[in-house]
Amino acid sequence: MNTPTPDIQQNDSLERSWLQRHKWLLLRRLTQLLVFSLFLIGPLAGIWIIKGNLSSSLTLDILPLSDPFIAVQSLFAGQYLSTVIITGAIIVSLFYLLVGGRVYCSWLCPINIATDSASWLRKKLNIKSSSLFPRNTRYWLLTVTFVMALITGTLSWELINPVSLVQRGIINGLLISGLILLVIFLFDLLISRDAWCGHICPVGAFYSLFGRMGVIRISAYQRNKCDNCMDCFLVCPEEQVIHPALHGEKHNASPLILNLNCTNCGRCIDVCDKQVFKFTSRFNHSTISNEYQNQESSQ
């Protein structure tokens, strides 16, 4: 993921094309498609680039990648981890420390496609039920998964973990497991808004913990241009993360979205006609107005 610098348009009313308004969404869908194609091209066409599934895999017979969440559950269940699993989990952890933990959710996890679609369809169909769960349910549930591994001495949560079930269902061709995707879609669509990814999922909660140091962050660097159209809040699956950055000018707060639960999905960048947001690093606190000031002061 490179961080593009969107052209600063002098004329804000300039119409952006459909492609420009869906750039990051399309890139994410392509990434999801690419990763799952790489997994499936083996069993379907006999071309083995990646073997295994998201729980643990081997790329080109050399690079081990393992899910750190399952590894930690295994530790709680009282198992010694093998070197392969430790190596794989460390590589994956370092990756998410760099790009932001919940990149797993928005750029990789197949459930994201279902919940994003449910959220989109909700708006189209004007379904207006609110959420049945508080946002922090996921952290309580994350605790439960570890406690249950400890009590039962086994990977208790992995017996029902929808994230594992769905990705395995797709990669290993297990139909009933794959159907969980539909269940979550319908639950998010009809029963509770952004329920799974935004409120319940302990896998996302686990990966969000890597977000504390995630280098790639979204910045509301042109927040002075914001006209409060609310498009970003409407499209964001974790809308609570935007406010501190977008409206932080009066508190002199950083324009960076530093909340752990920002999934770096980039939808806010896509939908904003004023080009307020961009991908940048967590060390770049500058806003456009500062940049002008800096230029002026250096001259």
Partner: protein, 262 residues
């Protein structure tokens, strides 16, 4: 001021209610998960684990359900359990009656396992103990009827070692022999070939989990003749030669005919 404090009170009350509700809900889910785990942790007797699998409890804690063993199985015998299958969700298993293990010499499934769930110290496939074959239905087994089916014996990769045919007298005809297939637990790998090959509609010989198929002698129990063999001699002090005080012309054979004439 009082308005502000009542607002914070209301806020606090809402926070506490919400937190309490979440904790209750999540705990209930945990409880349900616990019951389900207990239930789901027993492997169906028709399902077998790949070679080198740890005992079921340890296996379930160690296996990450990645399916690498399934991918490297050259005969597509192993599969990952779907929710409705007869093994814990996502774990690898095979069913002997459907498709038994081919016992590859290089054991690719064990090599592929990134965890300790399939024990890497298994290097000779003949040491695998995926289960134990048991001739469970003697009433239907053709060999027990005096017929020479012998299929389970013939198909066994460790023929004459894991399954032997033991001749017995056939009391029905009184002139033929029964050739009884006998499984030896110290050799049987549990590959399942015999169960697959059994010609009956429902197999008379079945591969069961070792724990189910195998009895165990009490630890304190000793078999006299084996102890004697080990010691090389009788373990009790031999009887002193008994002197019988008998009238002339009579003798007493202690372990034989008893009292008799010289």
């Amino acid at each position: 001021m009082s308005l502000v404090s009542s607002q914070t009170n209301a806020k606090r009350r809402r926070f506490l209610t919400e937190t309490a509700r979440t904790i209750c809900g999540v705990s209930l889910l945990g409880l349900g998960l616990g019951f389900y785990t207990k239930n789901a942790s027993s492997l169906a007797t028709t399902s077998l684990r790949p070679p080198g699998a740890l005992t079921e409890d340890d296996f379930l804690a160690a296996c990450v359900r990645c399916g690498l063993c399934v991918r490297d199985c050259p005969y597509d015998i192993l599969k990952l359990a779907d929710i409705v299958d007869r093994a814990a969700t996502g774990t690898p298993y095979f069913e002997a009656r459907k498709i038994p293990c081919e016992m590859c010499e290089d054991i690719p499934c064990v090599k592929a396992c990134p965890t300790n769930a399939l024990d890497k110290s298994l290097t000779d496939i003949d040491d695998a103990r995926m289960g134990l074959a048991v001739l469970i239905d003697q009433e239907s087994c053709l060999n027990f009827q005096g017929l020479r089916c012998d299929v389970c014996h013939r198909i066994c990769p460790l023929i004459n070692s894991a399954i032997t045919l033991e001749p017995q007298h056939n009391i029905r005809t009184n002139k033929h022999a029964l050739f009884i297939p006998v499984v030896h637990s110290d050799k049987c790998t549990g590959c399942g070939k015999c169960e697959r090959a059994c010609v009956l509609d429902e197999a008379a010989i079945k591969v069961l989990p070792v724990a189910l198929a195998k009895g165990e002698l009490g630890r304190h129990y000793r078999l006299g003749w084996k102890e004697k063999e080990k010691a090389g001699q009788s373990l009790v002090t031999p009887d002193a030669k008994h002197e019988y005080n008998l009238p002339d012309g009579l003798k007493y054979d202690h372990a034989g005919k008893g009292l008799g004439k010289d």
